[in-house]
Symmetry: D2
Subunit: 299 residues, 4 copies
């Protein structure tokens, strides 16, 4: 089928390529990419046959918001916008309602797969009306893995980004669990082959998983990860997961611990622990470590 | 090769069967099993050719301890005991040292795979001397999956049970992460197809894993798990993982959160939360819920 | 000095009474209270001398928002609104900016003290301009404890509610710590006098605190708290604290654990733990507890 | 009354001084202290009238164990040992049983108060038989604060050290809560007077406590704690609290979070976070920070 693709970066570009390989007509636009087929949104819309389908795959936040606002002005009743970026799910419904005022339809699509997606297919999680999902079905079928699976119409508007967010939250928890296990083995004093242990788990164990495969691969190159700093960014979706847990009164201690561990990994020093050190010094005369690294007892 | 197997329960029995299918001569003993080949340990030892290899697969704690003590009396210098049960790793070294006083060798083997192991092969993680690992290599090769993998000589005595313990700790964290994700989706009010979402993740996503496969299968039968209580036992290895983290000064917040969530799941009521309720009532006049279910404000 | 008080409930009514006892002229309005001095906001504003000072002490959310919007229409340049309710700090700055467009000034005041405040004085934490703080200084002085202390000009607009929120977050952590300690002693099997232990800590220990005094008092009436359910509400400020931690990338594991423990205390059953139980059953054949309470192994 | 005091360090020396001020006859021994009254344990025992009371206040672990073993050899039936150090509660009962074989009685006493105890009195928590508690009552009365309180006979042998351990666990949680609150305010960008905020809380708020007083004092000297590293030791009792929680199946997330935060504060780098960074790099091509501080994307 025919599709407009706005955003031709790492994700959008690969997705456009995969869709073309599968026989779709993709008209791409990205102001920053020489790969673009048209030079502005207006031309993109003009080039598409109604009812149009436009996939938006630009950075989340303002770029997505302004792109969709502009599309809202250009598109006509019956056209369909698919937002495939990392939108916070709470923004989907107001956006859909703004478009609906003009008769423009809206699907939110969470996309998983990263740099492996073009080759292996993407995981696609969609929120919105069933009729709109059906309208874009050929695109979803081509983006997801050839062997089937990888697609869900998760629920109403927002559900696609919500479950993608939860997917990433679960991912945080799984990664943290592997990290804690690694650290325990490294600290044990009796485990001599940590990479071999992870490698061995890839068959016949309960924890076998793609993340384990990747960890095993990373340890092949750097068996004790001494080449890396323990410094981990967070992508926003981990934060939204914890905020959703708070909003929904759902206890999510493991995912939250994973997020907080990333926060802590980026701190040079912990203000909270300064308080603990100061208090121990006050009540117990316990030594403190000064900012210059010297150790001083309470006078 | 020839092997004595002490313990013919769910694990030992299946392992003996798998080994026999692969051509090994297994002489089994289990006082409680009609499948036993001999009626006591003494006869078992007499039936084996020196240097003997005896795999112990009985319940952890006292049964394992007394079995190995008895074997220590019966075996001779050069014989090898492989402890495949759920021994706490801190007990391995003292036990090995007691056997070593008589010249009896000791390997500790963590075994993963549960009820699926007989068919798919087991994960085996071994601690001990390299020469002893080589002596039992044919047995390990036959227990692990046919397609290779699933085996590691993890380190010195205790390392096998240590890494098996860590494996289970990681497993706790992964299961908790999936649980939190499920609960978030169920509470969202916008996700209409939770089972389909998990199913879709089985291809093309970062969280794909055997546990995800199993969860998807469980949700096929009971899409909202309404047939189950949220009541989870813990096997001991999760507790040991947290205790090892404390002993080794390793922060393990996600795994610990997973263990505590299981503890809480088995409580009818939380004493800690009674304190919180009582305090809120004291300082704020906030209502409390009485033991009989009525709600009462502070008078 | 002269002050308008909007909201004469448990908090506003007590505060008005304390201020009158200290010689201030308080003109109170609350549509739902027979204690009101005027029947509507318009009359309240008419009764006050310019530049007016109006303290708003109504339920947070819509009631506060609509009250301040109405006041914004009635007040004149130079008048001052003090918002003393439980406003989410992120709402203070936009609100102040809306009022500032008309020249109306705004202070946000976090108030602590609960039902004990009228007698003992309140803790007051204020955000806003120094000149505005000075304008209302006599009121703050009379609301805070007679023996001094209890007041801070914490920072710019929003800071008052922010630090009040953090105060409550700390309170969550302290209460949870006492709760966990209580539960540990109750579970120990060797501690026979839990109330006496808390009572003894009131002197000469590191944990002495007002919350400990209150806990000791609660245990006088009900030594094992058997009369209460372990069921704890949360007031909103605990949630905001965790959300601020997430927004600010501050690890706050203890406060968050306290919030999640309250969430869990209000669940009849844990969906997350259903997943854990289902997974254990799938991979290990571990028994599950059915919704009807019966225990069933995997078939 | 007459008392032998073994151990004249910071704690034992101050306690001996306080007891003498209150009129007790204290015979002190400490091989490392010039303040000692006798030169060996044998002479100490000879100097005391039967039935003797000996308070042991030496470093925990081996020093305590060997001191009590030696006392067990020297003392007679009817004599009483009071162990006031930081013994792990699980060691009390076996120790008491060894002494009981000779008719020597045993009390375990948890002591709180630190460097402030000599002046303000100590908190004393005792485990053991009621008759033995009565025998030493005058000593307990003199050690605890003059204004009363500060003493509890918490339960049977081990209970004194158990509740002292729990006291310290609660202390960990409270300190962590204050630390998290400090960090939130420091990170907020709108709170300009953090020390003043803590100071203001000392009156009229729910969190007022001795720890708050100490924190306020610490912030007087160093308003943003810039002179300190966020580096916090743990004393052993926090670890035991978490291990007790695990042993007793008590969820203790806030106290555990506090312990883990201290562990993390002492790490130069987090091995667990290296795993997270490595995995993010593997699946998403996310940049990693190399050990030399440079940032590199996945190639």
């Amino acid at each position: 089928m025919q599709l407009g693709m706005v955003g031709l970066g790492k994700m959008g570009g690969n997705m456009a390529a995969r869709l073309r390989e599968k026989g779709h007509e993709v008209i791409g636009f990205d102001v920053a990419s020489p790969e673009r087929d048209v030079d502005d949104l207006k031309t993109l819309v003009a080039r598409l046959d109604a009812p149009r389908v436009v996939w938006v795959m630009v950075p989340s936040g303002e770029p997505t918001e302004s792109t969709i606002t502009a599309l809202g002005d250009l598109l006509e009743a019956g056209d369909l916008v698919i937002e495939g970026g990392n939108t916070h799910y709470v923004d989907d419904l107001p956006r859909a309602e703004r478009l609906a005022a003009k008769g423009v339809r809206y699907l939110d699509a969470g996309v998983s797969g990263g740099v492996w997606g073009r080759q292996n297919g993407y995981g696609i999680m969609v929120g919105g009306e069933a009729a709109d999902v059906e309208a874009a079905r050929p695109v979803f079928d081509s983006l997801t893995p050839d062997e089937g699976g990888g697609f869900v119409h998760a629920g109403r508007v927002g559900a696609g980004h919500f479950v993608k967010m939860v997917h990433n939250g679960i991912e945080y928890g799984m990664m943290q669990a592997f990290g804690e296990g690694f650290e325990l083995m490294a600290a044990s004093g009796i485990v001599d082959d940590v990479p071999g242990t992870f490698e061995s788990w890839r068959e016949g164990t309960v924890v076998r998983s793609w993340l384990l495969d990747l960890l095993s691969r990373a340890l092949e190159d750097d068996p004790d990860l001494s080449g890396l700093r323990g410094y981990a960014q967070d992508s926003g979706e981990g934060r939204w997961t914890v905020q959703a847990a708070v909003d929904l009164a759902v206890p999510a201690p493991a995912i939250t611990a994973s997020l907080f561990a990333r926060f802590a990994s980026r701190q040079d020093d912990s203000p909270a622990m300064k308080v603990v050190a100061a208090l121990r010094n006050q009540f117990g005369g316990h030594a403190v470590t000064k900012a210059d690294g010297t150790v001083a007892a309470r006078d």
